[in-house]
């Protein structure tokens, strides 16, 4: 099957800034994919290249098999982009904007689908209101609707929930999930790692224009975020054998890092043998935030070398 998105050896220079340094990425059809990275990592630049808003200095990108430069008409028809900035056209109402957007994509009578989009995004009563008069959250919904007027198989959302309240965020994700279940490929960038963790099946991490991690969410979590244990001991003395696992010592507590849960048993056995009692014990589950920081930290060291 043709991949939804293919990015091959893409470089982008802005003057002396090397914003993308040979990015390779494939997103299969039907995936829910996250693009993570700190500010300035190149996420938006990569999306812009995919969307034709910017041109790669080197390398090529395809959407549903269509080259974004040579076959831009097909590539853009296959792609819906929700931009990061809350942009709107002050001259027009929501419905006018959606009709124009449909027209730009070559669709003449699209009102049935526009009505459905408005309904699904809770915008029906805002249809004839000027977009500039809407709240930030509502403007965001209009942007989502605009990205979907042409029913694109691939949908890219660039930080769609930045500055959006919790309720809308939930609604929005419910809607995007439904689109994904209906077969749309979803790519999103977000700063909220828990969103990527709960929604996305695969994750790419970007740093300084390079992909530094690319795996399923599950693998990333199990490979990188070792289980952490916080223990208060009596007497407060850690047997030497366990010193290798120690990562921190805070407020009379020892923080140990384990590969997985099974390591816990060995730790407890060692403590029993050394006649040390456990007064308090807390096991923290790995989360993407830690993985993210770990990988970013490690990549930082490697890049510095």
């Amino acid at each position: 099957m043709t991949p939804a998105i293919e990015i091959r050896e893409v470089h982008k220079h802005f003057g002396s800034l090397h914003a993308l340094r040979g990015v390779d990425l494939t997103v299969e059809q039907g995936e829910f994919f996250a693009l993570l990275g700190p500010n300035g990592a190149g996420k938006t630049t990569l999306i812009n290249i995919l969307a034709g808003l910017s041109r790669a200095t080197q390398g090529c990108s395809r959407v549903m098999g269509h080259d974004v430069v040579a076959d831009y008409r097909h590539a853009r028809r296959a792609l819906g982009v929700v931009p990061q900035e809350l942009v709107y056209d002050a001259f027009f109402t929501v419905r006018e904007m959606l009709r124009f957007q449909s027209g730009y994509f070559g669709l003449r009578r699209n009102d049935a689908w526009i009505d459905e989009l408005l309904h699904n995004l809770g915008l029906t009563d805002k249809a004839d209101i000027y977009t500039r008069l809407l709240s930030g959250g509502m403007k965001r919904r209009v942007l989502v609707a605009q990205a979907l007027v042409h029913k694109p198989p691939v949908i890219v959302l660039d930080e769609p929930t930045a500055g959006v309240d919790v309720e809308l965020r939930q609604n929005l994700w419910e809607f995007i999930r439904r689109l994904n279940r209906d077969g749309h490929t979803i790519v999103l960038t977000t700063h909220y790692l828990e969103e990527a963790e709960t929604l996305c099946s695969r994750i790419a991490m970007l740093k300084q224009g390079q992909v530094i991690a690319l795996d399923t969410t599950h693998n990333l979590l199990s490979a990188h975020a070792a289980t952490q244990v916080r223990m208060r001991l009596n007497p407060s003395r850690l047997p030497d054998v366990l010193r290798t696992l120690l990562v921190a010592e805070k407020a009379d507590c020892f923080h140990l890092v384990l590969k997985d849960y099974s390591g816990l048993e060995k730790v407890l056995a060692t403590l029993r043998e050394a006649n040390v009692a456990v007064d308090e014990l807390e096991v923290s589950k790995p989360d993407l935030e830690e993985v993210f920081l770990q990988i970013m930290g490690r990549a930082g060291k490697e890049m510095a070398r």
């Binding site: 910017s54 028809r77 709107y88 002050a90 904007m97 730009y104 994509f105 070559g106």
Partner: protein, 251 residues
């Protein structure tokens, strides 16, 4: 073609929605010029034999209003989209660069012609004006509006903000229109300025447009249209090349 039509329609609707500013206010301003200059000069100036000064002035003012409004339409629309960021709505869809060009220039022509028609009709209320060669008149009107529509796109593409936009409008477009013979025939000028005026493409626009009314001109209408047509073509090709390259739009 749906994309092109939609963009053209959107551009029309944009100025139509603010027609007080885009149609009515240039009409009023131009009529004030007409009122004042015709009052002051009607008795003193006669440019062509048998043509009163007010009658001479009307085609010039019509052309001036058309040029300024054609330029204003494409340039302000595009710079606003650029500055507010909503130009992405035009860059994400599969619109070709030539569709972009055609829609913006066509809308600029429509606005220019609407303002021109308004000024012309209102001018008739002051004094009757002959219309000897309507086809020449239309040809120069369309070419002029098209030229300035294209120039407006180039300016808005280049400008980094409203300030630079206004600079082009006030330091290039305005002087070129005012010094092109709207208010006088270049034959009344000293030789140096007369020669200089011949390098101003707007001079040929106004001169040729006036020919459509009175059948008299400083330069033959064929030569005028050739020069104007060449300028229109050159500006169009330049605009198309910029749009195709994605200059300041897709980088």
């Amino acid at each position: 073609m749906t994309g092109l039509w939609t963009l053209f329609y959107k551009e029309l609707l944009r100025f139509w929605k603010v027609s007080l500013q885009t149609l009515l206010s240039p009409l009023v301003t131009t009529l004030l010029y007409l009122l004042i200059f015709s009052h002051v000069l009607e008795a003193h100036v006669q440019v062509y034999p048998g043509v009163g000064y007010t009658a001479f002035l009307i085609p010039g003012l019509v052309m001036m209003a058309m040029l300024q409004n054609a330029f204003a339409n494409s340039s302000s629309s595009l710079i606003q989209s650029k500055m507010s960021g909503n130009v992405v709505f035009l860059l994400l869809p599969p619109l070709a660069y030539w569709e972009f060009f055609t829609a913006y220039v066509a809308a600029a022509i429509v606005r220019g012609l609407m303002v021109g028609l308004g000024v012309g009709l209102a001018g008739l209320w002051f004094t009757p004006v002959a219309l000897t060669h309507p086809l020449w008149m239309v040809a120069f009107a369309v070419a002029g509006c098209g030229m300035l529509g294209a120039a407006g796109i180039i300016t808005a593409l280049w400008a980094g903000g409203y300030d630079q936009m206004a600079a082009v409008q006030n330091f290039i477009i305005m002087p070129l229109t005012f010094l092109s013979g709207v208010f006088y025939s270049i034959h009344s000028l000293p030789p140096f300025w007369q020669a200089l005026s011949r390098y101003n493409p707007f001079f040929y626009l106004i001169d040729g447009f006036r020919y459509g009314f009175f059948g008299v001109s400083d330069v033959s209408p064929e030569l005028g249209l050739l020069i104007v047509g060449t300028c229109f073509l050159a500006l169009s090709l330049a605009t198309l090349a910029l749009l195709k390259s994605g200059y300041k739009l897709r980088n």
